[in-house]
Symmetry: C2
Subunit: 222 residues, 2 copies
């Protein structure tokens, strides 16, 4: 509802990118070069363009700042504390981005010192209000895992049920019963067998599954 008003606020987007690897839930952070946040880490983000939605901006920024493409994006919340950025008022529409870890080839631009995956348990010092944003993102992800099949966006096309269970356990931070987990997932027809078998461990090969729908569906999973 536009009215004349002297407003000097920029609109930005920030995306908390998650993946599961090395037995942990990881967030992708970039290290800043410029003052006043030099050396601090941050979630990728930036100002949106005039004719761009925040979601498109998030995709563009993910690609340029981190090399991530094809992430699954969901709007998280908008952070608008007037003091969240020391350089001026910036309202940020934050997203959660989920990506299968093997898809990612990291790269950044010279504007940033580094890009790295960090375990969500022990994050480095974060710029802006990004500590809060990441915390909200983690709890949203946990909640969604329980009643949707979002895990599909964290796994490769085919995977074993153990991989799927590991993903759940890592994100939820608790162990799940193997038999009950498999029964539930199969009964709900969230995944289907491909007929293929996994190769290469010094153990019995596992059946490979794929998600029945590679888009978000709702069901009480746990």
């Amino acid at each position: 509802m536009p009215q004349p008003a002297a407003q000097n606020i920029k609109v930005a987007t920030d995306a908390v990118i998650f993946t599961v690897r090395n037995g942990g839930l990881m967030a992708l952070l970039i290290q800043m070069k410029k003052e006043p946040y030099a050396g601090k880490w941050a979630v990728p983000g930036g100002i949106i363009e005039q004719d761009e939605t925040s979601e498109r901006a998030a995709r563009r920024i993910l690609k340029t700042q981190t090399g991530v493409t094809d992430a699954h994006l969901e709007q998280l919340a908008t952070f608008d504390d007037p003091k969240r950025d020391r350089l001026g008022r910036v309202v940020s529409v934050a997203y959660v981005a989920l990506v299968a870890s093997e898809k990612v080839v990291l790269k950044t631009t010279e504007k940033y010192a580094d890009v790295r995956w960090w375990g969500t348990g022990k994050l480095p010092p974060l710029a802006y209000d990004h500590k809060v944003i990441v915390a909200v993102a983690v709890s949203r992800l946990r909640a969604k895992l329980e009643y949707t099949n979002v895990a599909w966006s964290l796994l490769p096309k085919t995977f074993t049920l153990s991989q799927l269970q590991d993903t759940y356990e890592v994100i939820l931070g608790r162990a799940l019963d193997k038999r009950n987990f498999r029964r539930k997932i199969l009964d709900l027809r969230i995944v289907e067998a491909t007929g293929e078998k996994s190769q290469g461990g010094a153990h019995r090969p596992a059946e490979l599954f794929q998600f029945a729908e590679r888009k978000t569906a709702y069901a009480n999973i746990l």
Copy 2:
């Protein structure tokens, strides 16, 4: 993450105010006078001020445009389609506001033609993208009702279990079993008896209850 950028985007907030009355879930809308949306109805909203969070702006705007104070507010989502407002680019941080119907004394300013409660089933033609915003708000409210005690913000301090059940039924759009509902609500200790009795119907007086916590708590209610 501010960077030099020629951005001409305004930040606004819109609040979908719900209450339950006359056996229906109602949303509060105002009727616009100005072109290009004259005659159309809209959710209350407006541009945020330079040093104001969107939530504070929502409270201020609710008060001036509708007379509603003391609503329970929750951020819903941010709507940012570049074409959502014909007059220029406006990104809107939308809220859901819940209020007990007897608290409200409606009034508006001369900028608007009318303020009215509308049943969410049959809304009048809405300006901007407010049809979408209201639809998202309704589904969010339904979902939240199932796993939180948000209903407290829709009811007076004390109420009967039948009133509470009516609130649930109206929002969810389905009938609930009386005995099961009462048992569940009481077992979860969401409400507690006050010892008072309701007055005045041509029927047996009902025990009055109050919420154990007048703030959001989580539990699988249904």
